[in-house]
Point group: C2
Chain length 136, copies 2
DNA sequence: GCAAAAAAAGGTATTTTTATCCTTTATTTT
DNA sequence: AAAATAAAGGATAAAAATACCTTTTTTTGC
């Protein structure tokens, strides 16, 4: 469903949300250790998120990543779209290019609801809403 | 969600089901062209399915793949398990090793229902039930 | 028996994804 | 100003997934 990059991205953002309010920023090293994921790989992902203004960063001593007041308003869906592409939640589960409600694949109806449920959760749930250990 | 191998596998089996009753067997070439997927890659997948007794095959002229009376009773879930592994429908959507109902990841509850819906469809729907162009 | 057909099997090649390394740039502290 | 810190960026490496090619085995029809 989601690539590892995307999984790491969502989890990293959740980490930032949970630690928002702390005065100090979270460095790649800290996040990677907390999530138990490869540090340099995560660094790339955080760069991408930062470039797309989904998270914020400061360089230098005491620097790291954090969420500003704009970041918290973005829905989680944007993370997915930035990392895995906008089509992730539209793709046919059997990879048929022609799959749609009009020309459903044999699993279409079973998967469609699932996908839309996820999409709506990811659209509704903002990055900020993950603060204080809340779920989506 | 499913690897391409698995997507091709399910679609190929569906093709066999739809063409069951025809007196002639379906060759790799025929199936690959019908599904618009790489022939040699599909050949490997069909081999695997055959080795696991999910489909049947005969070599030589007039040979090819078909479904026998045992094959038709297997649920589609077995295809998924053979190709992508038994854990496919249990894995956490965010890749957290510890994710469970007791320790849910932040998308757990939204994804859980989806996964179980799919699992139940794939368990209920046998290969044979795809004959006559039926869906799951 | 022989030639052709078609799957089985094994190996190789390509592409994509995941992961690491190393240098540069920006910032902060001393 | 110098040193330390941490992200940014570029290039490379390793692994996995996908795709292709060649040979072998089996079967069929002549």
């Amino acid at each position: 469903m989601f690539s590892k990059s995307c999984q790491y991205a969502i989890r990293a953002v959740a980490y930032l949300a949970e630690h928002k309010g702390t005065d100090k920023n979270a460095g790649v090293k800290e996040i990677a250790e907390a999530l138990q994921v490869p540090q340099q790989f995560l660094a790339k992902i955080l760069q991408t998120l930062s470039r797309h203004n989904l998270i914020s960063s400061v360089k230098g001593p005491g620097g790291g990543f954090y969420l500003d007041e704009t970041n918290v308003n973005a829905p989680l869906l944007e993370i997915v779209e930035v990392i895995d592409g906008k089509n992730t939640l539209n793709a046919c589960i059997l990879g048929k290019p022609t799959c749609s409600s009009e020309h459903p694949c044999l699993l279409h109806q079973h998967f469609h609801g699932c996908r839309e449920g996820l999409r709506s959760a990811l659209s509704t749930c903002t990055i900020g809403s993950l603060m204080d250990g809340k779920s989506c």
